[in-house]
């Protein structure tokens, strides 16, 4: 049987993690179909039909799918579920909100946040904030799986030409209403997919001091992250949080500044390829995962860091 992947998009563009989820989904079974629920999202359906790994796109267009109302999405997905062995999505706030609602209606015990496909019923997933890895085998007939996007490379985006079929909407829920979305617009790369991430913690002391971080982020074309402590203290908005209950990032370079390195923060960044820690407390746990540790006062180190970067002839973008 085939795999049905639920696409995440903003009605204009496919959200990047959908491509990572496509890679994992086609490792489960090559006959991968993608469901696009949206409003005037023809461009999204078209883009996905061009992904070589995608064999078929099912497109449902209705204004009730303009926003991700899990109740509305679920009703539509259940209508299609019968023909599939697996229903999958990315394990970000989109898929985390949606998939369990589908799984419960299918009487399936969901496998959350997989980081490896071992076979079509067996997966590797982190537990305890990534301090242990569990190999789990789903014995349900129909499987619901969410995929940690940063553990899989994004699929190729062009070269395919899958068939796009239109399908009818399901009933809308009358008990949930979308009111508004406050999206933080930024010209910087997205935190989840950036090649370089520089994050600040409680050591930044206030929101204004994040300027020291953003100056370097601009220079390196990096995304800006933060520890939970920094977000809780109001230094920066929640969409920047890296950690067990925030975002998981796996950049080529992760620079942790004024972050002590609580277990919950490490869960979100310790798979990064190269980790730098700048902290004045030499005993801070962040140094135990850092490839390069600098024991220094960040208020002296960051301006120096910027001026050293300015001296370089070239910087990889």
């Amino acid at each position: 049987m085939s795999v049905l992947l639920i696409a995440e998009h903003n009605n204009k563009e496919v959200r990047p993690f959908t491509y990572n989820a496509i890679t994992a989904a086609s490792q489960i079974n090559e006959d991968l179909h993608v469901l696009v629920l949206g409003h005037q999202a023809d461009d999204v359906a078209k883009s996905l039909s061009e992904v070589p790994n995608v064999k078929k796109v099912i497109h449902v267009d209705n204004e009730i799918y303009e926003n991700y109302i899990a109740e509305n999405y679920t009703a539509a997905i259940i209508k299609h579920a019968e023909s599939y062995s697996h229903i999958v999505s990315s394990a970000n706030t989109f898929g985390k909100n949606l998939m369990p609602r589908i799984a419960a209606l299918l009487d399936t015990s969901q496998v959350s946040d997989i980081i490896k496909v071992i076979s079509e019923d067996t997966f590797l997933r982190p537990i305890y904030a990534g301090n242990a890895f569990a190999t789990v085998k789903s014995n349900d007939k129909k499987k619901c799986v969410t995929i940690r996007p940063t553990s899989f490379d994004p699929a190729d985006k062009s070269g395919g030409s899958a068939e796009i079929t239109k399908s009818d909407p399901a009933e809308a829920s009358s008990s949930t209403k979308f009111l508004k979305k406050e999206e933080v617009k930024s010209d910087r790369p997205e935190l989840g997919t950036a090649r370089i991430v520089i994050s600040g913690g409680r050591g930044m002391q206030n929101g204004e001091n994040f300027k020291l971080i953003s100056d370097i982020a601009d220079k390196l074309n990096a995304a800006i992250g933060a520890s939970r402590a920094a977000v809780d203290a109001g230094y920066i908005t929640n969409d920047h949080q890296v950690g067990q209950t925030g975002k998981v990032v796996v950049p080529d370079l992760y620079i942790a500044v004024g972050i002590s390195g609580a277990i919950q923060h490490l869960a979100g960044m310790k798979e990064s390829k190269v980790i730098v820690a700048i902290n004045k407390d030499g005993e801070a746990p962040i140094f135990s995962v850092a490839d390069y540790g600098l024991e220094a006062d960040l208020f002296e180190a960051l301006p120096q860091f910027l001026s050293e970067l300015n001296k370089l002839n070239t910087i990889q973008k």
Binding site: N67, E71, T93, F94, N97, L98, M99, P100, R101, A104, L105, T108, S109, Q110, V111, S112, D113, P126, I127, Y128, A129, G130, N131, A132, A134, T135, V136, K137, S138, S175, T176, L179, K180, K181, E182, I196, R228, D232, N238, Q244, T245, K247, I263, K273, V274, I275, G282, F287, V289, D291, Y292, G293, L294, E295, A296, A301, Q304, E308, L309, L312
Partner: protein
């Protein structure tokens, strides 16, 4: 309004997890246990709503072994009115938890069910959404702000792109984020008083739901360790290493 709050007993968030040598799980013997952190936020929010005169009763429920009762007792000490403990001997999956909760909801008829968005042990992030599906109730997950309106809640949710605000009609399920509020500590007199509050005990096996595992845990292992790094003496050295050794800038 009546609010049911589900709480889970987990390994304390500060404990360094150790994987058992035989690969069967993680060490839990003689390990400090406490309430799942966002479940504390769920209790706190229910208590605040009651203090604002918008709820009449708060019932705290836990599902687990005998000692799981401690989490209900703690909820009673910060303001829940009574407790329910559904006994199970083994670890059960979120689907089974949500089936048990559904039975309790049918018996208790709460207007709202609150719980943490995710348990920090299995990191599943499923139970609230599953319960909402089984009851056919609306769901508001990852809540960082809740406003009680007439027969509805306006909930601000933390999502990857920022914040989203939705309105859900009551009855509804809300899963709470850590930034929803600042959970209070129980005072000693309230801890003493909580000892007199009732906790009803039930056995999961008496509720007539299938709680058998659907997922086999084949093995649990330690994640690959990072190899030890070095300390650099200066910013200059750091930049040189990043440029010439790690080749990432």
């Amino acid at each position: 309004m009546k609010i049911l709050v589900a709480v889970k007993r987990v390994i304390d968030y500060n404990v360094q997890i150790r994987v058992k040598e035989d690969g069967s799980g993680v060490v839990t013997d003689n390990v400090k246990m406490s309430t799942n952190p966002p479940d504390d936020n769920a209790i706190e929010e229910a208590v605040k709503i009651k203090e604002a005169g918008k709820a009449k009763e708060i019932v705290a429920i836990t599902i687990g072994e005998e000692k799981a009762q401690e989490t209900v007792r703690k909820a009673l000490a910060v303001g829940a009115d009574r407790g329910i403990h559904v006994k199970v001997d083994n670890v059960i999956e979120p689907l089974a938890v949500s089936k048990i909760l559904k039975k309790i909801v049918e018996k208790e008829n709460p207007d709202l069910v609150f719980m943490g968005k995710q348990a920090i042990d299995d990191d599943c992030n499923q139970t609230g959404q599953m319960l909402a599906a089984l009851l056919n109730w609306p769901q508001a997950t990852f809540a960082s702000k809740i406003e009680v309106k007439n027969n509805a809640l306006e909930v601000t949710r933390e999502i990857d792109e920022g914040l989203e605000t939705i309105e859900v009609n009551v009855p509804a399920i809300v899963t709470c984020d850590l930034r929803l509020n600042e959970p209070r500590y129980a005072s000693l007199p309230n801890i003493m008083k909580a000892k007199k509050k009732p906790i009803e005990q039930l056995n999961a096996s008496d509720l007539g739901v299938d709680i058998n595992p659907r997922i086999e845990q084949i093995k649990v292992e330690e994640p690959p360790k990072r190899k030890a790094g070095i300390k650099v003496a200066s910013v200059e050295e750091l930049v040189q290493k990043l440029k010439n050794e790690a080749k990432v800038i």
